[in-house]
């Protein structure tokens, strides 16, 4: 297993290098000059010398590849520079916002897994009419945009029922609506995976044998189907978790949740290059880590793969 992990890490190095280049390039080559934008927004009369000094301070006066190499050298030490907009280090900015995003992603993930298992298994277990109804609900939840769902929840739970507040302070109770918004869409998408995998397994010989032996539905589900579907589901869960970490930008913005999504939205508007670049690299690392985790779970869940790895 250790060898597998080391090999995976070695393989991913060129990918990460390429990703870092893309992250740097798409931000550095995007139109907009952070120094000029900030100065104009401030209503300040700068001299040309001031502007040159500021550009030099942020390394914007150097050629593109030199800037990339400088940045890469520092990024390897997790030094992504200083935010143009706030003056804090980029790592401090990420440290400030990461806990909120993690809390939202983890709670949304728990909700999504619960919803997906419930929808998937119920769709399999229900009769033709009930199953069609659940599948219809699943398609509806997958199709509804998260911002629309967020606004609907705000209208119902905040404005009409008064059960929640819109402008929270990052407390647990403020987490409910944004987490629910994200859970339903992600859970519905995962529910389709659960439905397909469970239904596929139910036609396998070992499940038919279990049914013939007179085992109950719960025993069959937990003892015969779950071990076989956990691997594919882990891969889907890992991808979903990565997407929840990086893709909650709109929901965070609507609910004012102080996470990385808010950070990067503002950074894009202000052309805060160091923050955007660090965010992109960070998200790449998250996806790599979650997919590695999923691979490990797949191996642990599959005896054949375990054996093949130990033989190798």
């Amino acid at each position: 297993m250790l060898r597998f992990i080391l090999v995976r890490l070695a393989i991913v190095l060129p990918t990460l290098l390429g990703m870092s280049f893309v992250a740097f390039a798409i931000v550095a080559l995007a139109p907009g000059d952070p120094v000029m934008m900030e100065l104009r927004a401030m209503g300040i009369v700068p001299t040309p010398e001031d502007i040159l000094a500021l550009k030099a301070e942020y390394g914007l006066d150097k050629p593109f590849f030199l800037r990339y190499l400088d940045w890469l050298g520092r990024a390897l030490r997790f030094d992504f520079g200083t935010s143009v907009a706030t003056g804090r280090s980029v790592m401090s900015e990420i440290a400030i916002h990461l806990p909120a995003t993690l809390a939202l992603a983890v709670s949304s993930m728990i909700g999504a897994v619960t919803v997906s298992l419930a929808l998937g298994i119920l769709a399999v277990a229900a009769g033709p009419v009930g199953g069609a109804g659940i599948r219809g609900l699943t398609i509806l939840l997958v199709s509804v945009p998260s911002f629309w769902l967020a606004l609907l929840f705000i209208y119902v739970f905040v404005l009409r029922l008064g059960w929640a507040r819109l402008v929270g302070n990052g407390s647990l109770s403020d987490l409910v609506l944004p987490a629910l918004t994200l859970s339903l869409g992600a859970g519905a998408a995962l529910g389709r995976v659960v439905f397909e995998r469970v239904r596929a397994e139910m036609s396998e010989d070992h499940v038919r044998l279990a049914i013939a032996k007179g085992l109950g539905p719960t025993q069959i589900l937990l003892g015969h189907i779950a071990p076989r579907v956990i691997g594919p589901l882990a891969t889907a869960w890992a991808n979903t978790f990565g997407a929840l970490l990086g893709g909650a930008v709109i929901v965070e913005s609507i609910f004012g949740w102080p996470g990385l999504g808010q950070l990067v939205l503002q950074a894009i508007a202000q052309r805060d290059f160091p923050v955007i670049q660090a965010y992109l690299v960070f998200m790449g690392l998250i996806f790599f880590a979650t997919s590695l985790f999923a691979d490990i779970v797949v191996i642990l869940a599959d005896p054949q793969l375990r054996r093949r790895l130990s033989d190798a």
Binding site: A30, P31, G32, D33, V35, M36, M37, E38, L39, R40, A41, M42, G43, I44, V45, P46, T47, P48, D50, I51, A53, L54, E57, T82, A85, T86, G87, R88, E93, I96, H97, L151, I154, V158, L159, R165, L166, V167, N169, G170, S253, I254, F255, G256, P258, Q262, L263, L265, Q266, A269, R271
Partner: protein, 514 residues
């Protein structure tokens, strides 16, 4: 009743009444103000060494703008300017919140901080500071400018007291003290009990940073916030009309104008002909636009600077009415004759103009671009409308390259230096790259340079008036459309003392009726 019984009853009554007597004279008043972005940053090493809105309550400037945007005393009691030297009498009886007296030494130390900033737009000669008395100092401008005091009305020049960490422990002389700050969430300030001036009416101010326009409006409707300090035009369009939200407005200050590319290369060279620019100006129905946009609170513009500002007055520009016939006649005179498809032509070339909407983003002027397109079509001008929702794309892709004929802008002279806007946008010396395509040329440069070098206020204003007239009337590189107030929104029962300058809205003296 025996004396003992009476005494016992009086004692019991006193015991019951004691807590009421000891209670504070008034309940604490607090106000939650929603602003769009967290711009709280007081790092002296960077150019956002600034004290935009929330922190403006903690620190104060030397002077502030009056109703005409002229500087009036705050921490500077009075000042004289002669031969490049400023002599300033400081306000006495003022202390910083850490107890340090505001005197000649601490004032010089505060002013020296600005030399550390990368945007030292005060440009004070650092070697020139002199202490002339306990509360009297003098200094010189590095560039011989008579506008240093004007520039001190900018909140970014607020005077900080000594502090090891200005971000976490900002020391100022302001009416409020720093209490707490959560990045991207809120900053809270509480009333300074030792404030030297008139005490503000609100005890505690919390500024909530809510980036999403809809969320700010919904939070106000839901009673979670009291005031919205940054109101976008889209919020005015979606504002409920049932009285649950109250609109407060200043005098008009922001302008909406079309800036003309008069130095562009083909195909963006049509507007080098002033007659075509004037035809555009007459083709615009400003009254209709004023009714449709900005909750009907804007007014047709005769310039990009309102007449009340700096006492400029309204007489130095004439403005343009809505006269499509006159626009057509001007285009005819310029050789653009009406084609069969309703688009004018000249030497086989269509009268087609690319219009970029808008700075800072198109949503600030919606639906004006489409309305302008219709108005110009009515006189035979085809518009290639490009809508951009990002000021970076607006500047880098179109303005800096001159790849358009017209640029729609929603901006303001957000500085009390009378030359600020005109010099930065309409001078060939502009540091804002692309505006060189708009600048009229040496005659306006000369007027603006004279304004910046003038040694008396009257000279400054006379030159600014002349430059302004050239820009919006004689050369007509900026076609004025509307002047728009600064807005705030509140729940009912709140009166906001508005200012045209958003950073000078005095939230500490908001009136709240319960």
């Amino acid at each position: 009743m025996t004396p003992f019984t009476l005494a016992a009853r009086l004692a019991a009554a006193a015991l019951i009444a004691a807590p009421m007597a000891l209670a504070p004279a008034h309940a604490e008043t607090s106000l939650v103000i929603a602003v769009k972005r967290d711009r709280y940053s007081v790092d002296e090493q960077k150019f956002t060494f600034s004290v935009l809105n929330p922190a403006t309550q903690i620190v104060e400037t030397a002077v502030k703008p009056d109703d005409s945007f002229l500087p009036i005393p705050v921490l500077f009691q009075s000042w004289d300017y002669a031969d490049g030297t400023y002599v300033v009498d400081l306000r006495e009886g003022v202390t910083f919140s850490d107890g340090t007296p505001f005197d000649a030494d601490s004032a010089i130390a505060s002013l020296r901080l600005y030399d550390q900033s990368k945007s030292d737009f005060l440009q004070i000669d650092q070697q020139s500071f002199e202490k002339l008395g306990d509360h009297r100092i003098s200094f010189r401008s590095e560039i011989g400018s008579a506008l240093v005091i004007e520039n001190m009305t900018h909140r970014a020049t607020s005077l900080f007291g000594p502090s090891d960490n200005r971000a976490e422990n900002p020391i100022g002389t302001g009416p409020y003290l720093f209490e707490s700050y959560e990045p991207k969430q809120h900053i809270t300030v509480v009333r300074n009990p030792d404030y030297w001036g008139e005490a503000p009416s609100v005890d505690r101010l919390t500024f909530r940073f809510i980036d999403d326009d809809n969320a700010r409006l919904l939070a106000l409707q839901n009673g979670e916030i009291d005031v919205i300090g940054e109101v976008t035009p889209q919020m005015l369009l979606s504002m409920p009309q049932d009285g649950s939200v109250v609109l407060h407005e200043s005098r008009p200050i922001r302008y909406v104008a079309l800036l003309s590319n008069i130095h562009g290369e083909a195909p963006f060279n049509i507007l080098q002909d002033r007659q075509v620019r004037e035809a555009l100006a007459w083709a615009i129905d400003r009254e209709t636009l004023a009714k449709v946009l900005y909750a009907g609170r804007s007014i047709p513009a005769k310039g990009v600077l309102p007449g009340w500002m700096f006492n400029l007055g309204d007489d130095h520009t004439d403005g343009f009415g809505h006269d499509p016939a006159r626009a057509g006649a001007l285009l005819d005179a310029a050789g653009w004759t009406m084609g069969g498809d309703g688009i004018r032509e000249k030497d086989g070339r269509k009268l087609s103009l690319r219009l970029i909407a808008a700075y800072p983003h198109v949503s600030t002027v919606k639906p004006m671009p489409e309305m302008l397109e219709q108005m110009f079509a009515a006189v035979g001008i085809e518009i290639d409308l490009v809508e951009v929702d990002d000021s970076g794309v607006y500047a880098s892709t179109y303005l800096d390259t001159g790849q358009a004929d017209l640029f729609l802008e929603f901006a303001s002279n957000n500085n009390t230096d009378p030359t600020y806007l005109l010099y930065n946008i309409f001078s060939t010396n502009t540091v804002w790259g692309g505006y060189k395509f708009i600048a009229p040329g040496p005659h306006v440069d000369a007027l603006l340079n004279e304004a910046r070098q003038a040694q008396t206020r009257d000279e400054v204003i006379a030159n600014v008036r002349a430059a302004h007239r050239a820009i919006v009337q004689d050369d007509l590189v900026a076609i004025p459309i509307l002047l728009v107030p600064n807005f705030t929104l509140s729940r009912p029962g709140i009166e906001v003392p508005m200012s045209e300058y958003a950073d000078w809205i005095d939230f500490g003296n908001v009136t709240v009726s319960h």
